[in-house]
C-alpha cells in the first residue's frame, strides 16, 4: 500500500463502493419519500432520459471491458503457466493492467447512474427497490469481494509466482466468478424491466426468484458474457494496435503485433458463437410476449436490424481481412491464398443479403412500379430464412479462415493427415450444403417450424462442424513440421486500423443493441407493469439514437485513452522490464 497509485485506486473503488452501500441503506426511506414526491424530475439542459442513457451506456461499456478482459487474461495466464512460456504471463498481466486502469471509472459511473435514478426517476426507483432490495446487498458484497480479489490478483503477480502460481491463477478464476455473479445480479434488474416475472397483475412482488429468473435473464446473461469477452478482446486489440502504430522499435512492434493478434483471436472465438446466443434471446422475447417480439422485429424497430446487420457484416469482413493480412507474415501461408477470393465472395454476398430490408418505404407510384412494397426478387432475401442462412455461412467462412491461419506455417507429419484433411473438407462442404438446404426449406414451412426447428438445426450443423473439424485439426497438427517462424511485427500497418475498426464498430454496436433492449419496452419502465408517464416516454427514431450512440462512443474512447494514458504514466522514466523479451519479432511459433 505504499504505492501512491495503489492507494489512489483503492480509494476510488472504496469511495464508489461506500456510495453504493450508503445509498442502498437509505433506499427504503427514499422509496417511501418518493411516493409523496413527483414521479420525475427534469435533468437540466439535456433532460433526464438522455442523462441516464449516456451514463448507463458508458457504465455498461466500461463494465463490459472490466468483466470481459479478465476472462481471457486468466485463460492466457493458465496457458503461460502450463506451457512455461513467459510471453503469455506478460500478456495476461498487461491485459489485467488495462482492466485495472478502468476499474475505478466503472464504479464511479455506476454510482453516478444510481444518483440519477434516485434523483430523477424516484417513483421508478422506489418500485424497483420494492422488488429487488435484497439483491442490492448481494451486489454490494460481490462488488467488494471482486475488488479485493482483483487487486490481490494484480498486485500479487510477482509475489505469487513460481511454486505459488496456482494460487495466483486461482485468484484470477475467483475474480472472474465474482465478476460474472455481479453481471448476473445486474442483469436481473435490467431483464425484469423488459420481461417482468414474479409479480402479480398489480405489479406487487410474489416471488423474488421469479423476478430474477424472468424470461430474458439467462439468455442475456449468456449473451452479455460472450459479448463482454468480444468487447474486452477488441478493446485490448485496439490498444495493442495503437501501441503498434506508435512503436519506436521493431521489438515493440513485434510485441504489440502479437498482443493485437491474441486479443483479436479471443474476440473472434467468442464472436462466432454470439449470434447463437442472440437468437436464443430473441426467441425468449417471443416466448414472453409475442407482441413485443413482433414489434421488435417487424414493427417500428425493424430497420434497426438492418443497421445491426451492416455492423456485424463489417465485423465479419474485418475479422477475416485481419487474419488474411496476418497470414502475409507467416512463411508457408502462400499455399492458402487461393482460398481467399471465394471466401471474400461468400462474406460479401452474405453481407448484402443480411442487410436486405424486407420492405421499403415507397411512394405510391414507386410501389406500383415495383409491384408492391416487397421487391419481387430482393424481397426473397429480406426474410429470416435467407438471413439465418447467410449468417451461418459467414460463421463457417470465418471459422475456415481461422483454420487456415492456424496451419499457415505447419505441415502435418501424421500419416493419416491426407484423410483427415479430406474429412475436414467434406465436413465443411456438407455443412454449407445443409445450411443452404435448411434455409430453402424454411420458405415452405410455417413460421413456427422455421423458428423452433429449422433455425436451431442450422445452428447445430455449424457447431457440430466446428467441433468435428477442430477434433481432427488439433491432433493432426500436433508436433507438425514448421515451414518458418512467424515474423511478428512485419504485418501491414493497415491491419492495425482494422483492429481499431473492429473495436469502434463493436462499441457502436453495443450502444445500438442497448437502445434496442430498452426501446422494445416502448412507453413502459417495466413492460406491462409500470408505465412511463414522463415527457420522455416517446421512443426516439433510429437517427436520433444513432447520434446519441456516436457521442457516447466518442466520450467512451476519449475516457479510455485518457485512462490508459494515466495508467502508462507510472511506467515513464522506469527501466524497461525484461519480461516482454520473448515476444520479439521472429517469435518461434504461433500462439494458441
Amino acid at each position: 500500500m505504499n504505492d501512491p497509485r495503489m492507494v489512489c485506486r483503492w480509494g476510488g473503488a472504496l469511495l464508489a463502493l461506500a456510495a453504493l452501500v450508503v445509498l442502498a441503506g437509505v433506499l427504503p426511506a427514499g422509496a417511501q419519500e418518493a411516493a409523496r414526491e413527483p414521479a420525475y424530475r427534469a435533468f437540466p439542459v439535456f433532460g433526464s432520459r438522455l442523462a441516464v442513457w449516456a451514463v448507463a451506456q458508458l457504465h455498461l461499456n466500461f463494465a463490459a471491458f472490466i468483466l470481459g478482459c479478465p476472462i481471457f487474461a486468466v485463460i492466457i495466464e493458465i496457458i503461460g503457466w502450463r506451457t512455461g512460456d513467459a510471453r503469455y504471463d506478460w500478456l495476461a498481466r498487461e491485459f489485467v493492467k488495462l482492466t485495472f486502469a478502468a476499474y475505478s471509472t466503472t464504479a464511479l459511473l455506476g454510482a453516478l447512474l444510481l444518483f440519477l435514478f434516485v434523483g430523477y426517476y424516484p417513483r421508478f426507483w422506489a418500485y424497483m427497490t420494492s422488488i429487488f432490495f435484497p439483491t442490492y446487498w448481494v451486489y454490494a458484497l460481490l462488488f467488494f469481494a471482486e475488488t479485493f480479489v482483483v487487486y490481490l490478483w494484480y498486485y500479487g503477480w510477482d509475489w505469487l509466482a513460481g511454486a505459488r502460481k496456482w494460487i495466483h491463477v486461482g485468484l484470477g478464476v475467483l475474480a472472474n466468478l465474482l465478476g460474472t455473479a455481479i453481471l448476473f445480479v445486474a442483469n436481473a434488474w435490467v431483464t425484469f424491466m423488459v420481461s417482468p416475472g414474479g409479480v402479480d397483475e398489480a405489479g406487487r412482488l410474489v416471488s423474488l426468484w421469479g423476478a430474477i429468473n424472468n424470461f430474458t435473464w439467462m439468455p442475456i446473461n449468456i449473451h452479455r458474457l460472450l459479448a463482454n469477452i468480444v468487447f474486452g478482446g477488441t478493446i485490448a486489440a485496439a490498444y495493442a494496435a495503437f501501441r503498434f502504430l506508435a512503436a519506436a522499435s521493431d521489438e515493440e512492434r513485434a510485441r504489440y503485433d502479437w498482443m493485437g493478434y491474441v486479443g483479436n483471436f479471443v474476440a473472434i472465438s467468442a464472436f462466432i458463437v454470439l449470434p447463437f446466443a442472440g437468437y436464443w434471446l430473441g426467441f425468449e422475447i417471443y416466448q414472453f410476449n409475442q407482441t413485443m417480439g413482433i414489434t421488435m422485429m417487424g414493427g417500428f424497430m425493424s430497420w434497426l436490424w438492418i443497421v445491426q446487420a451492416i455492423l456485424i457484416g463489417v465485423l465479419f469482413l474485418g475479422s477475416n481481412y485481419y487474419l488474411w493480412l496476418g497470414m502475409e507474415r507467416i512463411p508457408g501461408a502462400e499455399r492458402y491464398r487461393k482460398y481467399m477470393p471465394p471466401m471474400l465472395l461468400v462474406l460479401t454476398v452474405g453481407f448484402i443479403i443480411w442487410a436486405t430490408p424486407r420492405t421499403m418505404v415507397l411512394t405510391f407510384e414507386e410501389a406500383r412500379a415495383m409491384g408492391g412494397t416487397h421487391h419481387p426478387f430482393l424481397g426473397l432475401f429480406g426474410v429470416m430464412s435467407a438471413k439465418n442462412t447467410v449468417v451461418n455461412l459467414m460463421i463457417l467462412t470465418t471459422f475456415l479462415s481461422y483454420v487456415l491461419y492456424r496451419r499457415a506455417n505447419k505441415e502435418s507429419v501424421k500419416p493419416w493427415a491426407p484423410v483427415g484433411k479430406l474429412v475436414q473438407g467434406v465436413t465443411f462442404a456438407v455443412a454449407a450444403a445443409a445450411v443452404v438446404a435448411i434455409g430453402v426449406l424454411g420458405y415452405y414451412v410455417e413460421s413456427g417450424v422455421r423458428v423452433l426447428r429449422l433455425s436451431p438445426l442450422q445452428v447445430l450443423v455449424v457447431l457440430v462442424t466446428i467441433i468435428v473439424v477442430m477434433a481432427i485439426d488439433i491432433p493432426m497438427f500436433r508436433g507438425a513440421r514448421s515451414t518458418g517462424a512467424i515474423r511478428w511485427g512485419a504485418i501491414a500497418p493497415r491491419s492495425q486500423y482494422v483492429l481499431i475498426l473492429l473495436a469502434v464498430t463493436f462499441t457502436w454496436l453495443m450502444g445500438l443493441m442497448g437502445f434496442a433492449r430498452s426501446g422494445i419496452r416502448q412507453h413502459w419502465h417495466v413492460y406491462g407493469v409500470l408505465r412511463d408517464t414522463s415527457p420522455d416516454a416517446v421512443t426516439p427514431a433510429l437517427g436520433y439514437a444513432a447520434n446519441v450512440i456516436t457521442v457516447i462512443t466518442v466520450v467512451f474512447f476519449a475516457l479510455v485513452m485518457f485512462i490508459f494514458w494515466l495508467g502508462g504514466l507510472g511506467e515513464r522514466g522506469k527501466a524497461k522490464a525484461p519480461a516482454p523479451a520473448p515476444a520479439l519479432a521472429g517469435g518461434s511459433h504461433p500462439p494458441a
Binding site: 506508435a246 417500428f300 406491462g528 407493469v529 427514431a541 433510429l542 444513432a546
Partner: protein
Amino acid sequence: MRVPIAVRVALFALVVMGVYTYFANSIPQIESRPPQELSLEGGNVTPAQLVRAGQEIFRTKGTCEVCHRVGQAGARAPDLAGIGARAAQRKPGMSAKQYLIESLLQPNAYVVEGYPPIMPAVDRPPIGLNRSEVWAVVAYLQSLGGTVDVTLNDIPPTVGAGGGATAAAAEVKVPGDPKAGRAVFTGKGGCVACHKAGDIAGAPVGPDLSQIARIQTPEYIMRKILDPKGAGTVAGFPAGVMPQTFGQTLTAREYTDLVAFLLTLK
C-alpha cells in the same frame, strides 16, 4: 508535416462512426409514441364516430395491425376483411358482437384454425384498452361487413379495471377529502352544471363522470381540471366549454379534495 498517430487514429474512428450515423439517419425514421387515452362514456357518440375511433385504436394503441390486416392474409393472424358478417357464424348461439367482445377479452376461448394462440387480452397490460376503447374497436370490427349495433352496456364494466398501470394508478393516494370534494363538485366548482356523477344528477353538457376513476388515470383527471383544453375534449361533446380557470378559482385544498372525490367514482 507528419500527423501524430493519435490524431490519425482518432480521425479514422470518427469517420467510421460518422458513416454509421449517416446511414442510420438516412433510413426511415419511425418514433414510437405512447398511446392516448380515449373516453367516450356518457357521450352522444354516433356509430360513425365510434367506428372512426375504433379504427384509430386498431392502428395505434391496440397494436392490432402488428398481426392483423384487413384485406390481406397474414401468417400470424386472420384477415379481418368481412369479420363483421363472419363473426356471427363463428360460434353457435353467439352474436357477432358477443363473439368479437370475447375474442378481444378472452382471445384463447376460440382460436381460428391454422393460426397460433398468440393474441393477448386487449384490456390487460401492456395494451390495456379501457372500456370505451374496447367498445370502439368492436364497433370498427362490426363495420367490416356487418352492422354496428354494439353499445357500451355490452362491454363488461370490469374491462380495463385491473392490471399493471391501471392498478398502480388506482393505488395513488391523493391527500384530499372526498366528502369535501363532493361539496366542491356540487358547490363552488359548479361541475354539476355540466356533469353527472353517480347519484349526483347533472346536466348532460359534458360526459357522465360516474365511472371516471375506472376509465381514466389520476394524472389525466388532475390535468383535465387545470387544463381542460390541453387534455383534449371527449368525442361527441363541444370543445372549449369547460372553464380554463379552475387553477385560479379553486384553492389547493379544494382542488385536491375534488380530485379525491372524482377518484372514488368507479
